[in-house]
Every structure is written in structure tokens, then in C-alpha cells.
Amino acid sequence: MQILDEINAPYHQIIKSTGEVDDQQLNDLNLSSELLLEMYEWMLKARLLDERLLKMQRQGRIGTFAPYSGQEASQIGSAFALKKSDWMFPSYRDIGSCLVHGMPIEQLVLYLKGFLQGGSPPEDVKVLPVQIIIGGQIPQAAGCAWASKIRKEQDVTISYFGDGATSQGDFHEGLNFASVLQLPVVFFCQNNQWAISVPIEKQMATKTIAQKAIAYDMKNIRVDGNDVLAVYKATLEAVEHARNGGGPTLIEAVTYRIGPHTTADDPKKYREQTEVTQWVDEKEPLIRYKKFLQNQGLLTEESEQQLRQKLELEISTEIEKAEKIVAEPLATSFDHVYDQPHANLLEQKIEVEKRTAEGR
């Protein structure tokens, strides 16, 4: 079981939780100061947006929402490794990744407000609507990557999912397809330790998620999911492997969901607060990366404060824009069931239009 021991060894890390960095790995990454700062900016933007969305949910301004605080390093670091032309199949908790890949905040807010137009990103943004069915996007991502491979295009597809999804049939079917057909796809699992109320040790008997890749003879990487640089490096390696015809990779990013599963549950019912505190104290992704940037002389409390103000303003502006938009009427829904509504659907649409016009 030597292979297993290798996979299940402590995960890849570049920045320790103290903010200390592995200089060799940092040098190898060869990232500019601008890029290092840019990653922080996106992480902070994602965190501030998460906090704002939570408040908006409590105020009844958006519907049920799945907070992602604590997972910013995984989401931002991985999305940074993609090209704009790559495809993204996110789950509902991957808002940070969606943002980096070009999804406007306005769009995300519209989705959470339950607006029809919320699922439709701009033409040049290759992000699918967030997946609701756990693992459903995994074989689809394989299929999407397959199309790129058939046409000999260079695009890579990334699929995001959580630890719970690895119990689903679609996870295994998708990974097997990708492996048999050697598809340019990255399966990015954020192991945030909890599938709603079920902890990882009840989810699986294996020591890690990464080791499941052995069954598919698939490249795998287990990475500290709260270390944005390590996540970036791991994903870049997987993406380049895929782009160069090497086939799929399973990445396990070990992270933690600080908040509830969604705004509809209370995690105090199923997990100890001490566990949360411990993760936050020891491994919180933003604190760690901020320490690193400060050590590098790239960030000060003052410059961070300015950045924070800038981002708060940007988020407010986007939310205001979204809140000014009027919901598409129900009648519009009938236009998107098929490319052309059939006779009965048209009849129903006309009925709905009439009701709307008459206010009944």
C-alpha cells in the first residue's frame, strides 16, 4: 500500500498557517507581485460578498443561499489556473470560482433573487448554471471535455463539487468515463468536511478523497485547500496536464465550511463550535494569505483597508444594479422550455400574459 501512503501523506502546501512560505516553491511558481495581490483581492471580494449575501438573505432580499466562507483559497486559487476559454461546471457553493471566471456579481445576485435571467451568464463566460443535484455536473463535465478533445481544441473543463458528491454514482461514472476516454477535465473536490450534517468519516471509509483516483488510474493531487498558492499550483498542474493531452486529474482540496450548509440550517445542531474555532484559528485562508503578503511587504493594514473599501463599494454598486432590475415575467419562462414553444405551451403563455396584464 505504498502508493496509498504517498497519496494520503500530508497535503501539498506552500504557505504554512503561520504565513511562513516555502521559498523554493514560491520561486518556482514565479508569480508577479501584482498577481499575488490580485489573488488576495478576489479572496477578499468573495468573502465580503459572502457576508453581504448572508445579510441580504436575513433581510429577505435574496432566497436560500449556501455560504462559502472558509473555502475562498480553494475557489479563487483553482479558478486562477484557468484560461477564459476553459469551461466551468460549478455547484451551488462555488460562487468565488464563478466570480473569477467572469460571472458578474449582478448576475449571481439575480440568481439568488430567483430571477429567470440569473442563470444566463454573458456570452463570453463559459460558466454553466450552478448545479443543484449533487454530482450531476461531473459526467457532464466529462462530456464537455470530450467535445473539446474530439474537435482538437485546447479548452479544459473543470468540475467543482464537494466531499458528499464523491458518494454519488455520477462521481464514479464521470471519473471512469474521463479516465477511459482520457479527457481534458479537472475534477476539483472541495472537501469541506461536512455534507450538510454528515461528517466526512460517515461519508466514506477511505482515508482521503484523492485516493479514489487510484481506482481510475487517474492523476490525483491532495492539497491544502486553505492555501491559495498551493491550490493554484495544483490546479495549474492539472490543467496543463489536461491541455497537453495527459487526461483527467482528481484534486482534493482539504478545506472547511465555516458557515452553515445553507441559510436554512443551524450547524450548532450537528457540529461542535470548538471544531469551527479550531479551523478558523489555525487554518483560515484569508488570515494566512494576508500574513504572507505582509511578510512579503506587499500589503499593509492601511492598503488592505483601502482595498476593503474599494471592494465594498464595488459590491454595493453591483447589488444596487441587480436590485434595480425587474424580474422577467412568468410568461418569459415559456420561451426557454424549447427553442420554439409548442402549441399548448403557447396557449398557456398567452393565458399567463393575459393574467399578468389584467393583474389577476
Binding site: 442563470g119 466529462a142 464537455c144 474530439i150 455520477d170 461514472e173 468515463f177 426557454h336 399548448n344
Partner: protein, 325 residues
Amino acid sequence: MANLTMVEAIRDALKVEMENNESVILLGEDIGKNGGVFRATDGLIDMFGEERVVDTPLAESGIVGASVGLAINHMRPVAEIQFLGFIYETMDQICAQAARVRFRSAGRFSAPLVIRSPFGGGVRTPELHADSLEALFAHTPGLKVVMPSNPYDAKGLLISAIRDENPVLFLEPMKLYRASREEVPSEAYTVPLHKANIIQSGDEITIVAYGPTVPIATSVANEYLQKGISIEVIDLRTIYPIDFETIIASVEKTGRLIIVHEAVKTGGVGGEIAAHISQHAFFSLRSPITRVTGYDTPYPVASVEDDWLPNVVRLREAIEESLNC
């Protein structure tokens, strides 16, 4: 023109569409070297290579899930689910995923894929091979459901399905695969979706059938014609969306309606047609609408399936009842 069986016509449709459009690829279990368990893809791997005629791993959800991704990324996948009874394995990918890609993204993405699957009774299959499950998909907005009853329609409808911008279930009655031959044009042609076919014109009663029950309906209609009673037989061809216009026009003429399908009665397509006609052609009706269908049990074991399936005897009884009302 060539004299083809239905399964040969299906193979021909796949062949011409693969020639016409290089985005069309076939995927499924045993469809490559083996040419499919019914030979619907026989020889296509030699013509188009294993990149376009793909023997997949044995995983129905994987097959349809991958097809959804292929279709989103601008391919035209035609997936084969070996028998319709196996399709339960991939209900999520069909009904919750493929059917809703366009809707969820407000038209930004779409999943124009075709799922072909053989089904239907009377051929002594093992369990879960013969079940008629069309109503499950007709009940799912975003899908189209198509079912041919003869070789000519099979080719033209399948080509239409492949060219359609929406996900289509193309359900193939296995009893009819080799039941007859007819002249089928060699080139590509389409038979429109959403359009029922009046196979036989008549004045006294309307029978709506589709797929495997069409031959039963036509044979009984011919019997009655000898007796001087003319029956109109409508082959639905597309199960969803249903061409109600054709049925309404027919019932307005005949005043009587019988629907025949193999699927179980409750919650079936026949009930939907009956409700619609009751609403839209009520005053033309001279007798109650009746259904001749499979009974409300799981599809039975082979030794008793003939007693379970709709047949000419049960259809005759329904006709007599309707005429004597």
C-alpha cells in the same frame, strides 16, 4: 430507394446524418463492434471509426451525463440506452439535467441530444426490457418523445430528432424492428416532429395509436372496413408534444375516440389525450372516450405477457362498446 426493415432504416438515418454532420457521434453500450444488441448501429464503426461510434463503459447515467456535456459543447450526441427499462438509471440526467439546460440558463446553453432506446412487449424478453415508459418523459417539460411505427417514419423522424435543437427521446418498438419492409429513400429526408399521421381515413370512430399498437389498430380497422364501418387510425408519431389539432379534427368528424397504448393505463398518455379531447371536442362526442392499454401492474413475465398487452380482441370490444353507446 432500398427495401428496409425498421431497424435498417434507423441505421440508415444514423449513417446519413453522420455523413452530413461531423458533430454527430454515437455512444452507448455494445454499439461499436457488436453493432448494438439489435444491430441498429451495425457496421457504422467501420465507416466512421471508433472516435465517432463509441462503445462506452456500462453506465447509463454516465452515457447521458456525458451526452449532456457533449451537447452543451456543440456536439450532436446520439446515445443508445440498450433497453428502455434500464433508463431509470439515468432519470436525473434526462429529466433534471438535459431537459432543463435551456430553461435554467434562459436560453444561454442547450442540450440537443438524442436518446434512442428499444422497448415494447411481445418478444419474450427478460424483466425490465419491455416496459413502455414514454409517459415519464412526456411529463417532463423540455423533452420531446418520438416513436416510429414503420421503416419510412423511423428514418425521417430520427433525422428530424437529430437535427432538433432540443433533447429528444427516440423510442423504438423492438417488435416492429423486423416486422415489415418498405421502400425507404436512400438520401436524407425528414418526417416532421409534432405531426401525427392519419394512416387510414374513416368516419365512424377514431383510434389513436403509436409505435407497437399501430399495427393492431390498422388490422382491426381493416376488418371493420370489410363490414362497412370506416375507422380513422391516427399514428401519433410524436408522443410529446402531442398533435392535438389532428386528433380534435378527427373526433369532430367521427364523434368517437379510442386510445391504444402498451403503457400502463394510469397516468398514461391516453389519459392526457382523453382529458384534452373532453375539453376541446366535448360536444362532438357521441360516446365516452375509452383506453385500451397495458394493465396497472409492472410489465408481466413472458408467459403471460400476451394476456397483458392490448390486442385485437380487446380493441374490438372497445369498438363495439363505443359504437353501441
